[in-house]
């Protein structure tokens, strides 16, 4: 299953009362070990 997503970059547009959008950012891209651990738990490749 996959979905096609159209990205809207709110960071460069008016987001809140004309201010740049704020968000909490992911610290790091999820690391490979973590993703593999998740995959193992789920019995996926």
């Amino acid at each position: 299953m996959s979905i096609v997503v159209h990205q809207i970059n709110a960071f460069t547009e008016k987001a809140f009362g004309g201010n740049p959008a704020v968000a909490c950012l992911l610290d790091d891209a999820p690391d490979a070990d973590w993703m593999q651990a998740v995959a193992r738990e789920m019995n996926l490749p």
């Binding site: 997503v5 968000a23 909490c24």
Partner: protein, 203 residues
């Protein structure tokens, strides 16, 4: 037609709490029929160290951004003094229990207010159980589901989808139809997007 809205949030991100109000207002103002689903996102999954409220990162971020914005929006919010901040995995597993019982929105709102108004440790199973009971969920069944990890696999599958398929890297992120809006958006921006998506979908 009904426009699906997915909103990815982390219970420890103040901008996600602040997103509740403009989202609800936009849905009411747009006249668009929507179906909102709250999606989990972990900014710092175990074992990534979580933030400490006494440190400069949160102190300055709240002083310069969160508090002024919340005041402008008329939302009561307080930097929680739980240190280090809790992991949100268990709370999200509880959300799936709440969703299965038709209380997703109530549970989500209670997580935000518990953390950002009452400084509850929402990583603690006793705290979560008590909050779940408050909104009408069965305490024994809720605790057991968390203890047994009933929703652990489903939660990890949703996270994986967020990271890999939708490529969420910031919260809040709104998926409205097939448009992904990153960051806290105001009511007008959300209304405009809702109406655009509805118009595109209407033959």
């Amino acid at each position: 037609m009904t426009v699906p809205i997915h909103i990815w949030s982390d219970y420890v991100c103040p901008y996600c709490f602040l997103a509740e109000k403009p989202l609800a207002a936009a849905i009411a103002a747009s006249g668009v029929e929507t179906e909102v689903r709250w999606m989990p996102f972990e900014l710092r999954p175990e074992p990534t160290p979580t933030l400490r409220p006494e440190e400069d990162y949160l102190q300055s971020g709240w002083a310069q951004s969160v508090y002024p914005l919340a005041e402008q929006m008329g939302v009561e919010i307080k930097l929680p003094d739980v240190s280090p901040q809790p992991y949100s995995r268990l709370a999200f597993e509880g959300h799936l229990f709440a969703e299965a019982n038709g209380l997703s929105h109530e549970y989500t709102h209670r997580m935000f207010t518990a953390f950002f108004r009452e400084s509850h440790d929402i990583g603690d199973i006793d705290v979560l159980t008590s909050l779940a009971e408050e909104i009408g969920l069965g305490a024994t069944a809720f605790r057991e589901a968390l203890h047994e990890g009933t929703y652990a696999e489903a939660h990890q599958a949703l996270l994986k989808r967020a990271y890999e398929e939708v490529q969420v890297t910031a919260v809040p992120s709104f998926l409205i139809g097939n448009r992904l809006l990153r960051g806290l958006a105001d009511q007008d921006a959300l209304v405009s997007l809702l109406q655009t998506v509805e118009a595109e979908a209407t033959p």
